[in-house]
Amino acid sequence: MNERRYVAATGALAALGAGIAGYLTFLHYTDGRIACPTGGCETVQSSSYAELLGVPVALLGLVAYAAILAALAWPREAGRWLALSAAVAGTLFSAYLILVQAYEIGAFCLWCLASDGVVTAIAALAFLRVRAADRHAGAAR
């Protein structure tokens, strides 16, 4: 895959993730009802793990996706590293949140799981993109 395709795929995923996080953030501040077939979303979103120091986790996710989108627009090398760091942080924090849902809350939020999948896919793409760029640079020397 070439650089342009990595950027396009990452951008599409980050936009999808931002949509999910934006939806959850909007509901948080408007006390809206989550469209959730299992009912676990409300339980997770009303748990003490849904906020960090008063800031909704969904809003943090929105900021992370926005950072990844911004990184895609940056000069190539700096943007690649920033996108990778943000996506790795998001993936590891998502893994923690999945464990919390399974073992602390006892319910799963499908929207959160979808976002977890998106950020993990972004991290994989960001890693492959960095490696591809490095190999390209190595070959050019």
Binding site: D31, R33, S46, L84, L92, V130
Partner: protein
């Protein structure tokens, strides 16, 4: 040596490790903050100290003293406005509403006979929701449901941690002026089953998808849903005042 190792410059590998480490550091900070945050927000159980339990008991006693209760209702039956609350006793936002907004509504509207409130309990979060709710509903037969509910919220523990133990529930019943053995023994009674079923049916009819949810209207009429933008008192006060016509 693999082809990758041969082609990737050493400084790039170092930067890759730095990027991964930076991400891991940010994630570790987020996890640590989340753990501290969750622990700080989990209220301590009543049994931890006798003085805390006594403080909760005195607070609830003052709040509800002299106000008529009838089953799941608190307030005079001829109050012109009725508020219905759908709640899970493990739901932290329900506890927040009970601590921050309910006292103001009781002081300003329920006590003067302008408002009555009905508790419709749901138990969807887990086993502690069920045992706590059944205890509160068993107390409804003695017109002490609101004492028990408020004390449960003041002593709410971490979700599904086993906090709603018989020991805690017995202490709360005793603090509410009830015979713990008799009320705990009635948790599986037909009356309790009937109240559980009725609340579930009403919640389904009202399309309740989470807690707390509210309905507010004139007593005796159909109660439309109330969807406040915050659980703080202002939107509740405004809605009640509007119905009271002031």
């Amino acid at each position: 040596m693999s082809r990758t190792r041969t082609n990737v410059p050493a400084h790039s590998r170092k930067r890759l490790l730095l990027a991964l480490a930076a991400g891991a550091l940010v994630a570790a900070a987020l996890v640590a903050t989340s753990l501290v945050n969750a622990r700080a927000e989990s209220p301590k159980p009543v049994a931890e100290t006798a003085s805390e339990a006594a403080a909760g008991t005195a607070e609830v006693s003052r709040l509800l003293s002299g106000i008529p209760q009838d089953g799941t209702f608190v307030g005079r039956p001829d109050a012109p406005v009725t508020l219905v609350e759908y709640a899970d006793l493990q739901c932290p936002y329900c506890a927040q509403w009970a601590r921050e907004t309910l006292p103001a509504l009781i002081r300003d509207y329920v006590r003067p006979g302008k408002l009555r409130i009905e508790f419709r309990g749901l138990a969807f979060i887990g086993p502690d929701s069920d045992s706590a709710l059944r205890t509160a509903l068993a107390a409804a037969a003695h017109d002490r449901l609101w004492h028990v509910v408020e004390l449960l919220y003041l002593n709410q523990g971490a979700e599904n941690s086993g906090w709603a133990s018989d020991e805690l529930l017995g202490g709360i019943l005793e603090a509410s002026g009830l015979d713990p053995a008799a009320v705990l023994g009635a948790r599986g009674s037909q009356e309790v089953e009937g109240l559980l079923l009725r609340a579930n049916t009403q919640a389904q009819a009202a399309r309740v998808q989470g807690t707390p949810s509210f309905q507010l209207g004139r007593t005796g009429e159909a109660l439309p849903p109330l969807t406040p933008h915050t659980l703080a008192p202002p939107p509740f006060r405004a809605a009640v005042e509007q119905l009271l016509g002031s």
